[in-house]
């Protein structure tokens, strides 16, 4: 007999701590994780994900699946913002549409981690190179979003702020969280190639501590998400619907791409989760800087207040059954 996978997902410490955080807000507890402690955990998680991913990539090498999967990942993060943009334009101006769409084209590293934890608890294997897909999907969506602004925006933007290609690349590749993830991945790769003892010495920090730090961070994310949620009301029901519909839609496309790529159920879920998740770190930071005309409360409250909790609590198990249905277990 199979236990309800949603319940099983919810009963894992990371999700439980997320819920605790959210409930504390609902019940008006004064539990608070003051700045910059959340930043500490978010920096730590990016560094550790990147480092471990770099090691895995170096270890597993580049097998047949790697290149097609990574290419498909990049493609998805280029296509999704375009679809999102078209949908959002029904209701929003170019600036807001582009910014929100970019967030949904990009990814959430913590959602990815949660999916990994879910797979581990279900004893389903997945490959380390999927972190490469994670890293590669952050920037393209930002680039697409900024290009949409550059070409579709009204021509009366202040000159001094004109978006040059160099600025676009700068924001998409040198954004703090993108940069830390990518460069930690490189450090992991180089360490694995040339200094294997360094891996052992990093393991307690980047490996053993990871799960607990994830829980602590999710406690804060629960608080933040529950504080953000009410502000979505001002954004209107269109955006609220979008914040739930879009991840499901992206997951749906994603699962067929995963099937086409012949990914196993583990990698398949991770691929789908990357498509379905939305960025609340890299993209908002880049958009605030380059598209100040967009309302930050739109793109941050949808991703953080609704899409993220949805994915963490319900999405991952839903996507898992989607993966199990669409991707034949033995191809």
């Amino acid at each position: 007999m199979e236990v309800n996978p949603i319940l099983q997902n919810v009963l894992a410490p990371p999700v439980l701590f997320f819920l605790i955080g959210a409930i504390s807000v609902i019940f008006k507890s004064d539990l608070e994780i003051p700045a910059p402690l959340p930043k500490l955990f978010s920096l730590y998680l990016l560094l550790a994900i990147g480092f471990k991913g770099g090691i895995e990539i170096q270890k597993s090498g580049f097998n047949d699946q790697v290149l097609p999967t990574l290419s498909a990942a990049i493609l998805m993060s280029l296509v999704i913002p375009l679809i999102g943009f078209l949908i959002l334009r029904f209701k929003f101006d170019v600036f807001n549409s582009a910014a929100i769409a970019a967030a949904y084209g990009s990814i959430s590293a913590v959602t990815f981690i949660s999916a990994e934890s879910f797979l581990e608890s279900q004893k389903i294997a997945f490959d380390g190179f999927m972190v490469g897909a994670l890293a590669l999907m952050e920037s393209p969506a930002i680039i697409v979003g900024l290009l949409l602004v550059k070409f579709a925006a009204p021509k009366n933007r202040p000159k001094s702020r004109k978006m040059h290609l160099s600025a676009i690349l700068h924001e998409s590749l040198l954004n703090g969280s993108v940069y830390l993830l990518l460069s930690s991945l490189i450090v992991g790769f180089l360490t694995a190639s040339s200094n294997p003892s360094g891996i052992t010495k990093m393991e307690p920090f980047t490996g053993q501590l990871f799960y607990g730090a994830e829980c602590f961070f999710l406690l804060d994310m629960g608080i933040v998400a529950a504080q953000r949620l009410p502000r979505l009301k001002n954004a209107g029901s269109f955006l609220i619907g979008f914040a739930i519909f879009m991840p499901l839609f992206n997951a749906f496309i994603g699962v067929f791409v995963a099937r086409f790529l012949s990914l196993g159920p583990g990698n398949g879920l991770l691929f789908v989760v990357l498509c379905a998740s939305a960025s609340y770190l890299a993209v908002p930071a880049a958009m605030r800087m380059t598209v100040p005309e967009a309302k930050s409360s739109y793109y941050i409250s949808t991703t953080l207040g609704l899409t993220f909790p949805f994915n963490i609590v319900l999405g991952i198990p839903i996507y898992m059954s989607l993966v199990k249905t669409i991707i034949p277990l033995s191809p």
Binding site: P284, A285, S297
Partner: protein, 93 residues
């Protein structure tokens, strides 16, 4: 002597400091991690870890003429990203 209070997104801090330095202000003080609400947006504490950036509060004690010199540049900086600037009287101790 005047006191100039600037409150704006910390993302704009480098630009503002450049403006101040170009005008040769005798000095300035920066306090980060301010939050708040303006006519355009709400700035909350979670903006620090998301990288959106919270506000910076900059205080400059200087002569009126320096302020006149900087006025346009500062307004420019603030108009794009939002923020407020107020002048008041101040006497050195």
């Amino acid at each position: 002597m005047k006191r100039l209070d600037l409150i704006f997104s910390e993302r704009e801090l480098d630009a503002i400091i450049k403006t101040l330095e170009k005008a040769n202000v005798p000095g300035y003080t920066v306090m980060k991690h301010a939050t708040g609400r303006g006519p355009e947006r709400v700035v909350t504490e979670d903006m620090e870890f998301t990288g959106l950036g919270s506000n910076a509060h900059v205080i400059v004690f200087c002569e009126q003429e320096l302020i006149d010199k900087m006025r346009d540049n500062i307004r420019d900086d603030l108009s794009y990203y939002g923020g407020v600037a107020y002048i008041s009287e101040a006497t050195p101790l």
